[in-house]
């Protein structure tokens, strides 16, 4: 276990109901800022540490269920095991770190902040991403980054079928293979600016040793969402 900066508050979910723990974590920011909280025996419970909005450091010591750290703002949430569906769903800011694997729809619609998944992630990872950064140490399942609008999505392993289908302006970087690209998603040449984004994210997510040049970038071919002059007569 890492050394904690402050006196930790330890909650045991075998003893304290999750609702009480979440209510504590939703308390007045002035009393919570700078605090470290440990949650023991998560045992796959749903909705652990959702809706946090203060500068607090939460460590979940085990496997979390659905929607862990959903809607996160400012806080740092570390899940030492795996995460169920919808981890960091609609995150606004802060950092969520899953040390194991994550199930489907991780970081769905996330607006900001950083989601780090050390293991694999399931299907529909970063679906409808709206501006957050997502780094997956392993591989991601099919239909990831579907309709992703903004943000950066880094995959150190492989991607499944239909990557980036109907993508808008999010940027995808894949080090391994892509089983297939979705509609309107294409290979991109990485600009120096994008290379810097990628390099910074690799450092932030504990992958400083990985060469940014080993990634292929993907993005929108912009044939689906732009008005096309050939269709002018239809309006």
């Amino acid at each position: 276990m890492e050394t904690l900066k402050y006196n930790p508050d330890i909650f045991d979910l075998d003893v304290t109901p999750l609702r009480e723990v979440n209510q504590f974590l939703h308390g007045d920011a002035s009393g919570l800022n700078g605090k470290s909280v440990v949650i023991e025996n998560p045992n796959g419970a749903h909705n652990i540490a959702v809706g946090l909005k203060s500068d607090i450091d939460v460590t979940i010591k085990g496997h979390a269920g659905y929607y862990a750290a959903g809607m996160n703002q400012i806080a740092k949430v570390t899940i030492e095991g795996s995460a169920g569906s919808g981890v960091a769903e609609n995150m606004m800011s802060g950092v969520v770190h899953v040390k194991g694997f994550a199930s489907n729809a991780a970081a769905a619609t996330a607006n900001g902040g950083l989601l780090i998944i050390d293991g694999d992630a399931g299907l529909r990872t970063a679906i409808a991403l709206k501006g957050a950064d997502v780094v997956v140490g392993g591989s991601v399942g099919s239909f990831s980054a579907f309709m992703a609008q903004a943000g950066n999505f880094v995959i150190l392993g492989d991607a499944g079928e239909g990557l980036g289908d109907s993508i808008y302006e999010a940027k995808i970087f894949v080090r391994g293979t892509v089983k297939s690209l979705g509609a309107d998603c294409e290979e991109k040449t990485t600009s120096p600016e994008d290379r810097k984004i990628l390099a910074d994210l690799l450092v932030k997510s504990g992958h400083a040793d990985v060469n940014p040049d080993s990634f292929q970038q993907y993005g929108s071919a912009r044939t689906l969402y732009h008005f096309h002059v050939d269709n002018a007569g239809a309006y």
Partner: protein
Amino acid sequence: MCGIVGLLVRNPKMRDSIGELMLPMLIGMTERGPDSAGLAMFGAPVGADERKFSLYSGVADFNWTKLGHDFEKHLSIKAKVEPKANHAVLTTTLEPATVKIWLKEHYPQLHLLSVGQLMDIYKDVGTPAQVAERYDFKNFKGTHLVGHTRMATESAITPAHAHPFTAGEDWCLVHNGSLSNANSLRRKLEYQGIEFETDNDTEAACRYLQWRMREGDDLETALNHGFEELDGFYTLLMGTSNQLALVRDPFGCKPAIIAEHDDYVAIASEFRSLAHLPDIKNAKVFEPSPKEMYVWKL
């Protein structure tokens, strides 16, 4: 939404407590399936020439003793009847086809849940805890099991509509999800002479696999055909005399999580149901990939 659980005990010393190990798994899936629950238990085999018939009665005070007497009197053959609440297991050497005809003629109100040498099936309406209590799941002994908690979305809440379903001796299936082409599958299969007992979509999947295996497919080939023909969302968990098998639909719409340990293999819809297994910290916990078949043998 429904919950599925499966447990295959590798360590022979733990097989006498399989019911106790399973109980928190089933109860852990209550939120996913509060209206009915069921369990297929693979236990000690009957004699080589015997079969077990799992029976269910809609009325609680059914006279199982009389059924045993009638059976022996009419058919001039020995039968053992072991009742447990609304269920009973009838064991006999008489061949299954004759038993089925006799039951239909003399006890049409009974449901025949399964036939086999190892497998007993219990299913009923109520919360998983209530159903488990009613049939004393906690004290079950055996090698492997398949369980289900149901939240009905497409057909009635009755014991017959609860899972597991069977398709052949010592073969069962539970399902989390919904099939959109269950009716057209049923019409197709009825034309092939496959009989249905309910209008449940899972039964359609079960009978489809039964039909494929009747046509000579092994389980893997049957499931590969299933990927083409079953339209909808599904995680399917199947039990046979010596194995458990799991598949998820190609879109991974329905969940599953697996814990592989030296002592056991445990499968559930969510980790909540695996959290209390012994030494789970040292198990390999992972999520099965969609459209892949996972098989664990005894």
